[in-house]
Amino acid sequence: METIPLNSPDKEFIREVQERSGQNVLSCYQCGNCTAGCPYNFAYDLSVSRVMRLVQLGQREAVLKSHSIWLCATCQSCTTRCPNSIDVAKIMDVLRHMAREAGYATERNVKAFGDAFLESVEKHGRVYELGVTASYIRKTGRFWTDVDLAPAMLPKNKLSIKPHEVRGKEHVSAIFKRFRERDTAKENS
């Protein structure tokens, strides 16, 4: 197991996580309920309670470079069961935002899938499932992803060949545009 030096806590990191999530991370007393109920624990490099502890200890790099924050599916088990009413899933979300901003993506395929999905929404207003798949394959080079599902899916006509265009798709793409401009402004400030 990798050892994490606990000296020199990054207090700015603790403050930022608290502010962006609106949660008091210091009220976590490490009961382990979140980890006990987390369905993804088997796939995590850091358990949820360990992520919480490392946030308390201001360990920016260890947290933002962990795989767990990308694998969390926001199933809300941790949030629902936290005895101190900490919205843990929201903290995991915020950590993922911060990892993205810092240019980390330890689960490249998860990021590629999310990006492909949002590009589709930005372009068409609604998700175009075949388009998302094609874009995901382009980003990752994983040509054989789910190709075994085709024989089950194609006869069912469940995948639309054409995107579902929304009349107001410009309105939707403008939301994304303003979001990116807002982010740039934040970075420049």
Binding site: P39, Y40, F42, A43, L71, A73, T74, C75, Q76, S77, T79, T80, D87, A89, D93, R96, H97, R100, E107, N109, V110, A112, F113, G114, D115, F117, L118, V121, G125, R126, V127, E129, T133, Y136, T145, D146, D148, L149, A152, M153, K156, K158, L159, S160, H164, V166, R167, G168, K169, H171, V172, A174, I175, F176, R178, F179, R182, D183
Partner: protein, 291 residues
């Protein structure tokens, strides 16, 4: 009874879960609920949006709530738990006077008027009710052992969803019982199926959905009943992948609650879109005398 609400089908309703959308519309019509589809609705952003930014996610969802309000709908229902979670979160953010300007800035539109949101499941349970369903059943689902699987976010977090029990929800159990089915006590009813990891991290889905199928099989479940397009897809479409990964041979049909409810209310297999399912439920339904 006359109920009229706005309807947000969600993107999967015109793709991988066409049968959920179709059976939802048919069941609501049968139960006297008028669903008015929000004209020109767009994607709520699903999971990818909230993992990138909370305000972006809220703005994508808010566009639909504002549209609905403009179209005279004070209340919107959606069959999809993920859409529900996003729309509800957005609605909460719009109500917060300190947060609303951030949403409005991305939407470039005032958000002071936004419709409220519930699931079609909640609407059916709370506004139609079990007595009315029992009276409307013409083809009881007797001789059918079902396990109701809610997935993780239909009732969680409870503070946001405000419906049913977050650890032991009973809405679908009650509906299935009202339809005459034998409802099995399914202990994993709110455990995660692997959600959107199917494409990027298939091993997670085969592990988690595998556990659900394992337990369902051990209870002699004849049909798994769901209310979530992603759960249904992971358990039904990916059941073959689960079997290949885990060396199992499950063959358990996974249907939407609206499909079984519809059949009990006298709708045809075609009207509830049974042929869209990958694991064919018709042999079991025929055996149980439902078809």
């Amino acid at each position: 009874m006359s109920i009229s609400v706005g309807y947000y089908p969600g993107c999967s309703g015109s793709g991988t879960s066409v049968e959920y959308d179709k059976s939802t519309r048919a069941v609501c019509k049968k139960l006297g609920i008028e669903l008015n589809e929000i004209d020109d609705w767009s994607c709520c952003g699903s999971t990818p949006a909230h993992t990138v930014d909370h305000t972006l996610s809220a703005a994508l969802s808010a566009r639909n709530l504002v549209l609905a309000a403009k179209q005279g709908q004070e209340e919107v229902v959606t069959p999809c738990p993920s859409c529900l979670a996003n729309l509800r979160t957005a609605s909460r953010k719009i109500e917060d006077e300190n947060y609303r300007p951030k949403v409005e800035a991305l939407l470039d539109e005032p958000c002071d008027e936004a419709a409220s949101v519930a699931s079609t499941l909640q609407l059916i349970v709370e506004r139609v009710g079990m007595d009315a369903i029992k009276k409307a059943v013409v083809k009881p689902l007797k001789d059918l052992n079902v396990a109701c699987y809610y997935g993780c976010i239909m009732n969680r977090p409870p503070e946001l969803m405000q419906f049913d029990d977050p650890e032991n929800p009973m809405a679908m159990d009650d509906i299935m019982e009202a339809c005459g089915a034998t409802v099995l006590p399914f202990p994993l009813k709110v455990e995660c199926c692997g959600a959107a990891a199917g494409m990027p991290k298939k091993d997670i889905v085969t592990e988690l959905s595998g556990r659900l199928l394992d337990v369902a099989e051990s209870l002699n479940t004849e049909i798994i009943v769901t209310a979530c397009p992603l759960c249904q897809m992971n358990l039904d479409l990916r059941q073959g992948q689960v079997n290949r990964a885990n060396g199992t041979r499950y063959d358990i049909p996974v249907v939407y609650f609206t499909q079984l409810l519809g059949l009990a209310l006298g709708l045809s297999a075609e009207e509830v879109g049974l042929s869209k399912l990958v694991v064919d439920p018709t042999p079991r339904l025929r055996f149980a005398g439902v078809l």
